[in-house]
Amino acid sequence: MNSRAGKIRPVRRPIANKDADEFEPCWGQLRDALTDIHLQNAGKLSFEMLYRASYKIVLRKKGGLLYERVKTFEEEWFRDHIMPRITELITKNLVTVALIQAPGTSAHERREMGEKFLRGVMGAWNDHNMSMNMIADILMYLDRTYTAETKMPSIFAATIGLFRDNILRNTLGAAAEDLNHDFVMFDILNAVMLDMIDLEREGDIIDRHLLRKVVSMLEDLYETDDELESQKLYLTVFEPRYLHASRLFYRKECEKLLRDADASTWLRHAQRRLAEERDRCGTTVSYLTTEKITRVVEQELVMAKLEEFLAMEGSGLRTMIDNNRVEDLSILYTLISSVAGGTNTGANPGMATLKSTLQSRVMDLGLEIEQTLKDTDFSVVAGAAAEGDEAAEGGDKAKTPTLSAAAQQTAAAIKWVDDVLKLKDKFDNLWVSCFNKDLVLQSAVTKSFSDFINLFHRSSEYVSLFIDDNLKRGIKGKTEAEVDAVLDKAIVLLRYLTDRDMFERYYQKHLARRLLHGKSESQDVEKEMISRMKQEMGNHFTTKFEGMFKDMELSRDLSHNYRSHINNLGEVDAAQTELGINVLTTNNWPPEVMGRGASGEGTRADCNYPPAIKRLQDSFFKFYLKDRSGRVLTWVGSAGSADIKCVFPKVPGKDTGPLSKERRYELNISTYGMVVLMLFNDLAEGESLDFGEIQTRTNIPAPDLVRTLASISIAPKARVLLKEPATKTVKPADRFSFNAQFYSRNIRIKAPTISNISKVEGDDERKETEKKNDQTRAHVVDAAIVRIMKQRKQLSHTQLTSEVITQLANRFKPDITMIKKRIEDLLAREYLERVEGDSSMYRYLA
């Protein structure tokens, strides 16, 4: 090439000629080498020499010619040497079996024949592929320059494509002439491979490695020589057929399962098939298909008959839930949630089914709880539990074997709460262990819980009762953690309640009772409960409760101060009465306690206190007003209690036995009871008073008086008064006298308080409560409407309604008709007016 002569002479020879001269010898070298490569004699060829030859040709600008020559050479070689080998493989038998699926061939025969065919194709492919690779190596420089510049397919792409054009797309020739359709080799190849895969699905052992090799061949070949990634023959030809065949296979299998198996088997089968198919993509087919085949199996095997399987009697979703089949459920969830659409119930019908079934199951089981409650006779069933209740009930009928109605209700409430919590635990457990803490399912289940709990009209009362029961005695002797768990449960239930104002009302009532009667087990736990409610529902919900606690604390101080004040006065009075007082702020306490119940009497007329008590009251009032002038104190006799020291004189004529001595007892009775008993102090022995006399002298409201008299004249434990006639009920015509014969083994006697604030309401009372609640709600709704309108000035009816509902959602779910009524009322009261011309719009009137 380069002259190394001492003097540089211009090259005179025309270069073109030299080039032409050089091409043929170089090509000759290369041609011989190509032949050797095909005959697998490459070992003796010098790579450098061949590379140099092709380099030279390209340097002399004959790249195009070389490219064409190589291509032609390969085509000829292919035609003459490879095609015959392949043609031999296609036997008439193979064509029949593969394409027509003629019956009568065993799986074994089919496999043998298929494998032989595939091996033949693979042999040819391997040879071709290897040769083409070597040729591409030799012609590397051609690819780097000529083909790169002319944007032609690389020499490898051009020659490897021969296999596709001449073999895969070749018609079958003589072997298939009977068929009235133009099949090509590729069809046979596909059919054989799909048949193999089906054999494996049926449980046969096949040569996976061989299939994998065929697949990688298809992955190496492209539709055109441009070799676009998306144009791999595997993707364009084999994969669609593979997916289609799989679809048919699984559709059939799913139908068979639906006929022969149960849901549990189906779940496990689907799970196994999914794993198999994914595995197959790794070992036999291609990773590229993993996602797609997974979708196929999911669609055909999981989703297609999902509803039918889940509805199966005895093994469907219902059974799984009821029997806590954790494994089944978690498989189900895994299968469903991985389907397209994921856990989105809108996009994934499977999730939607799961969700709705769960919801209806919660609903049904919830209603079942209510039904069992109705069917259970608590007077008998709760017998064992009743022992504890006696104390709570004050033992008014403690000796009777059946429980009082109230105690029955308490037991019912506790059973209901327990059952609901159990149900909740069950679904929580499923949610954690099977549903991967799916948020959508959680909110769905929560909603169902809320629905059925709120469908049960006593839920608010029952929840409050449950807390009441626990705070009174349930937490006795429990560790902090256990108490915590109880509180948690209470809060969980509370969350479900929509009519929170109802609950608030009940809780207030129960709390008042606990506080005034000192029934609460632990102040700390009470406060903890309140603070949790505060967290859950906000400040406004607990202000009243907190106020009640504050009142109690202030009262304690007040009583204490008053006592030291009296002591300081030094007025030593033999008949001095100790005063423990609770000053209650009217708004914080339930109206029933405050003696201003809406039951009609409404009067707060003071009863006539005995003079000693009257003096005490005056003295306290004076003391109280020292610091707080202008306040009014109203004495609520119905809510207080008194300790009285009673002396029963020796009964004449009795020399032995307890009656022969003077007896002193400390009697704990209600304030009214004390007032009544004091009357008898002034009576001469043997005198009696009738009901009317007592009422006029004490001015105690009749219903209260009935209760009071009942507590001291009927219950044998504290029968300090004798009633005439000695019936079990107090009638207006009854007469009462001092029971001089009274005897008790205890020094301290507690007269049973029969309070009008009974723990559980009867139906009438409940209606009463609801009515009262509705009245309160009306005010709350009024306030909300006015607040909203003040801000917005003008709103349509529907907007206003929805605003009100959102604002009040935290407290209760307002009735639409009620809102409508309130709006009308406000219109009448001229807080609002209708906008002229648009009757659906309201305007705020300042």
């Binding site: 090439m1 540089i8 490459a42 790579f47 380099y55």
Partner: protein
């Protein structure tokens, strides 16, 4: 030189270059034999990778014979594989003046590179020292012989051109870049030397015509020094090369760039040449 940890790999490779220890492949060329390491050369060149790995003769014999190439250029290429640079200088005295009176210092021109050049020389010195003890097959030994056999009439400009075409042929892009850089520097100073023509001949015959960078440099240098075209030997030389066309297009471009309004010259190649010469002269 600081003993930096990162120098370790450099030093090791340099060591391998010096001693040819662990060599597992040979490159022969013009009777010389270079003991090289597959691990060093194959990852850098597809050609050597295929030669070593392929099913051809080279893989089994462990020798690749680069018979068509210039031994000096091949030696430069091998040097580059190990040292990331190449030089044709042994000891401190050039065996053959690169050209005329210019010393090897002008080789790289700039200051920064001079430092590099200095370092390289110490390198070469160590090679020379080691010759005494190393085996006869040691790399530096071979290198020395090759360098000593540098043909007198070949200038360093030609050598760069040869290295460049070798890099193109065996697909070593970085070496191509390096040799191009060095060719350009050298051409700026050596354009009037007689071996410039020799280099031009090499440039225009050893690579495919679509490989522009080095040709562009030649065209640029001639355009900048049009008086070159007055020499008869230059004219003779150019006639048969594509350079003729390249120059014409180069001048055409320069023309439009300089004057906005100019009648497009329609001319044959010879006319063009004289026209250009006439136009260029006043500048």
């Amino acid at each position: 030189m600081e003993d930096q940890p990162r120098d370790e790999i450099n030093d090791t490779v340099r060591q391998l270059f010096r001693t040819s220890a662990y060599s597992d492949f040979r490159i022969t060329c013009g009777g010389y034999e270079f003991n090289v390491h597959k691990a060093v050369i194959c990852p850098r060149s597809q050609f050597f990778a295929k030669a070593c790995d392929g099913p051809f003769k080279e893989a089994s014999t462990g020798v690749v014979a680069l018979d068509g190439d210039d031994p000096l250029a091949v030696a430069m290429m091998v040097q580059y594989f190990y040292l990331l640079n190449y030089t044709a200088v042994v000891d401190n005295s050039p065996l053959q003046p690169f050209c005329g009176s210019s010393s090897q210092h002008t080789d790289d021109g700039e200051r920064v590179i001079t430092r590099g050049a200095k370092r390289r020389r110490t390198e070469v010195t160590t090679i020379a020292e080691s010759t005494a003890t190393a085996e006869s097959k040691a790399f530096s030994d071979v290198m020395r012989t090759v360098l000593l056999a540098w043909p007198k009439e070949m200038g360093s400009l030609t050598l760069h051109a040869k290295v460049y075409s070798l890099a193109e042929k065996y697909d070593i892009p970085r070496l191509k870049k390096l040799s191009l850089l060095r060719f350009e520097r050298r051409a700026r100073s050596d354009w009037m030397k007689h071996n410039f023509l020799q280099a031009v001949q090499e440039v225009y015959t050893s690579t495919v015509d679509t490989d522009r960078p080095m040709r562009d440099i030649v065209v640029k240098v001639i355009s900048e020094h049009p008086s070159l075209l007055d020499k008869e030997e230059v004219q003779e030389q150019i006639k048969n090369l594509d350079l003729c066309f390249d120059l014409m297009m180069g001048f055409r471009k320069a023309l439009t760039a300089r004057t906005v309004e100019q009648t497009p010259p329609t001319c044959t190649c010879t006319n063009c040449r004289t026209d250009r010469a006439a136009q260029k002269r006043p500048r």
